[in-house]
Symmetry: C2
Subunit: 413 residues, 2 copies
Amino acid sequence: MSNNKLQTLKGFRDFLPQKMTIRNEVIKRLRGVFEKYGFEELQTPSLEYQEVLLGKYGEEAEKLMYLFKDQGGRDVGMKYDLTVPLARVASSYPELPIPFKRYQIQPVWRAENTQKGRYREFYQCDVDTIGSSSPMVDAEIIAVVDESLRVLGFTNYKIKVNSRDVLFAIMEKASIPKNNWLKAIQSIDKLDKKSQDEVKKELIDKKFSAREVKNLFEFLKSAKPDDFLQKTIDLAKKLGVTKNLVFDSNLARGLDYYTGPIFESVVNEPKIGSITGGGRYDNLLKTLGAPDLPATGTTIGLDRVCDVIEELNLWPNLSSTSVKTLVTIFSPETFSQSVELAKILREVNINTELYPEDSAKLEKQLKYADKKGIPYVIILGPEELKNKKIQLKNLKTNGQIETTIENAISLIK
Amino acid sequence: MSNNKLQTLKGFRDFLPQKMTIRNEVIKRLRGVFEKYGFEELQTPSLEYQEVLLGKYGEEAEKLMYLFKDQGGRDVGMKYDLTVPLARVASSYPELPIPFKRYQIQPVWRAENTQKGRYREFYQCDVDTIGSSSPMVDAEIIAVVDESLRVLGFTNYKIKVNSRDVLFAIMEKASIPKNNWLKAIQSIDKLDKKSQDEVKKELIDKKFSAREVKNLFEFLKSAKPDDFLQKTIDLAKKLGVTKNLVFDSNLARGLDYYTGPIFESVVNEPKIGSITGGGRYDNLLKTLGAPDLPATGTTIGLDRVCDVIEELNLWPNLSSTSVKTLVTIFSPETFSQSVELAKILREVNINTELYPEDSAKLEKQLKYADKKGIPYVIILGPEELKNKKIQLKNLKTNGQIETTIENAISLIK
């Protein structure tokens, strides 16, 4: 019989159990950090009205959105990011305590070109504070990013900070007309991937004058944090962000809505580019039709983080399965005792799988455990039953010992 | 300014932070049980090809599915349950170790009539084993249900079991033609909500003869578990399911694909009907176009469980926020010391929110903490700084003490 009918949808992917152990561990550690800093979890629906989704972005984004009519004839769409739903929540619940510090870890959907290795469903992990203009809340976002990277095991990274206000002041000084500022910013943003000459050429191609470009780069080089950014940096240091925080006047971030400090973190090794990015966006909520609240926050690229940890085997001790031990069935005669043994192991909170068939060859059961990456296998045959012992096999070292149940429990734990 | 633009989509809902503390705790406890029994997590995409989704259900279900064309012209849809994706996974990965024991906690979408208080996006939580015909795996599903209900704090519940084979044998004995069996089963399934007389009338209306109906109820009354179900029950008992397991020949379950044992659990108090349901479905995967593997499993109604726990305040000690303490800012002069204090509390893993503004009235800050349900508030004024003490306020008891940081830490913990 043909199985061709059942295909995974193009651009989408499953997370089989061996991927879930990493994802769950990453999420658990990140949640721990977010909550330690006083952020609380929010979840919003997958679908929103189209008019809510389309408020923020231009045509480019609209092309990537999954938009359709529901059964009631409503124009709906699958969420494209977590910022628009946050604005909608701020609007729907005027009674929310302000400042509202939330984190959100949920999938979003974009009909991206899959040639680039991008998936059309991916998890965003956002941490934002709305309702405060204090540099303190920007500093906290930076501290959260720093501690998140540390708890994930990254050591060689930089958190780059800059401010849109610093960039705007430079533009003004370089006599660039206001309506061209964003165009210039989008080119400056490429300085981490392209050479200065390439970016200069791009600006010339965009009809910036040679003088403007020369001034721009000169002022970028000598730029300093403004007052607000300096306060943010000082407070972040006070919160414990010391060695990895750098001011980088070339950091620009592409999105048009940032208004103050902007942040981005890059891991030096491996070369995967930025893994977090964010900044202050004081006007966005109002623009979207939500209450006029200042806001700041960051995104952490959850799928990217998981992929990197997996590809580079950064967590060599993390098992590919949540199962700790397989209790095998030696023969139909010992089946009942193996069931009892599984019960005992579960009672002491050892994740235990019991092989369900009573007449499978032991070799087949061992292969099954090996394939799944289960670290321990227990064998309980007539000999062991007589001696009130069990055989404990460690599939990593291939060692096997005859021991008591009590001892096996402490070895497995 | 009008906020009318930003509405939550009809039939959908947000989970604000105060709902998330319950949800996260429920999911954490359930995961713990599933993994203890050797089930591993699987996640599948929200979207599937329509031909995959439409394989299992009739027109009734199709009407409730969110189906549309994607940007590439593909006919796609949002997943309607977690069973079809499981079949697709079994088909997509022939290399999966068998038996494959997986749990899956993800949203599904159904354009239900919202008048009934149903949401169009809700979480399903499924636990299934595919690839084994052993009654052992059915018994494990029952044990997982039992332990799940216990760890959630339910005490007064029943796990009802029956078998489609038992029901089929009754039909045969009652001389009901095979093509009417499912019709009869769908009526029997209503016996927990309707009286016997009502169900008898329904069967007569469905053109069953008076003699068939009489025989049917007589045989239902005297029915006993068949061999397979008895083995399942005995093994479940061996796994520790003792007092809440009952054989109930009236349990029928509506879905047409069950083949052997069927299970359902009902909480006696409050009257919310069944909160888990499942059974063996040995032919379904093959029917869907997946490999021909036997299977058994259960669904746990996650949203319903959360709603009940919340409505009945079953977990009175669970905080409505993950934040443990708010460090207030007494005045701009003490701001810096409050920041340091927040850092210290976070270092010892106390979830700490720092009020971000340095000139808000203390009263306002206390109201904020109270509104969010934060249990502790710390005040650090010039007096306390001089004495190297802090004020610790317990918002539940309204008690306030002056104490050292070390003592405050141990009190909060």
